[in-house]
Amino acid sequence: VTLAERLPAGLGEICVAREGEIIAYSLGSCVAVCLYDATSRVGGMAHVVLPDSSLGSRRSPGHYADCAVPALVEALRSSGACSARLFARIAGGAAVLALGGKGTLPAIGLRNVQAVKAALALAHVDITAEHTGGTQGRTIRMLLPGGQVFVRTAHSAEVEL
């Protein structure tokens, strides 16, 4: 995949493509939601930051799990996907490993995963694979048109979901 074919999904962004690669780098507590329609061969990714839109008033729906999932489904439908054929793979929601010290970081990863699952259930989209929780960050990439999803963590080889 060349740089030109690589579509980075930044914080709170939703990306849809038919070719190339969609990538979310080094997710900590955020969750990447990857949806794919194998018949129309179109896929998309949402980089979810927070579980619930009641936590803020961002105009971008991709920030919140409850808004990001329906927005991603709609974006895929607009690109030719059939919502009944979509299936999901999700990754992220870690609590980044602390080696020491006395500080704390918010444990929002688990809430993000739970909210994404609830939103997918509401949208009637099945989850076929997940790589969530734990204490390490993850990079997630989706290859198109094939729809393969790969996950890499620090110190580990990339695995396919």
């Binding site: 930044g10 914080l11 930051v49 490993l97 704390t104 390490q136």
Partner: protein, 194 residues
């Protein structure tokens, strides 16, 4: 910008005191970075790093991250503990504690000096040492900034030199707009001569 340089120099002095060597701060860079790009501020977001996080409390909220490679972290521990270069091969409880102290002292000096110039009280929280991809370390901080509905962060970074060794020790100050305003009033931002 002069005030930021003064804060970096103060930090270098504190670091010198800790390791018993002469440490100098190289020129600073200061950037405003959109939230969506925060994970790229140190270059490759997948680069594996050691970082020390300190929250900023006071009249404004924010975060300071000290980021270094594991090799630089080991070099720093050798210097801090008076060991011969190359002695430290892993980061265990003692080494992590030493790095937390580096973060504590350098971050506190940076914030105290900057706060004094800008007339802003900035108190650091206890340090937290993290090891992961850089983007994953920044991610929870970006989440907190997102919760505060901020669109971006002020990013300050610099390098420190000790004798012939360059420490890729980067400071990332991530804060809400109120701190930007307070620093501007204190004439710390580019364009000022203070």
């Amino acid at each position: 910008m002069v005030a930021l340089a003064r804060a970096a120099a103060s930090t270098a002095t504190a670091l010198s005191g800790m390791i018993g060597r002469t440490v100098r701060a190289n020129p600073l860079s200061l950037r405003a970075v959109p939230l969506a790009s925060l994970q790229q501020i140190a270059g490759d977001p997948e680069r594996e790093v050691i970082s020390v996080h300190l929250g900023i409390t006071g009249r404004t909220d924010g975060h300071v991250l000290l980021v270094l490679s594991e090799a630089t972290a080991r070099d720093l521990v050798d210097l801090m503990m008076g060991r011969e270069a190359g002695t430290t091969t892993g980061l265990h409880t003692l080494e992590v504690s030493a790095l937390a102290e580096v973060g504590n002292v350098t971050g506190a000096h940076f914030l105290a000096s900057l706060g004094e110039d800008a007339d802003v009280v900035m108190t650091p929280t206890p340090p937290l040492v993290l090891q992961d991809m850089f983007g994953a370390v920044v991610d929870p901080l970006a989440v907190m900034l997102d919760l505060a509905e901020l669109d971006g962060a002020l990013v300050v970074d610099t390098q420190f030199t000790c004798d012939e060794q360059v420490f890729d020790l980067m400071f990332f100050v991530l804060s809400d707009p109120k701190l930007f305003e307070d620093l501007a009033r204190g004439s710390c931002l580019p364009g000022s001569n203070r």
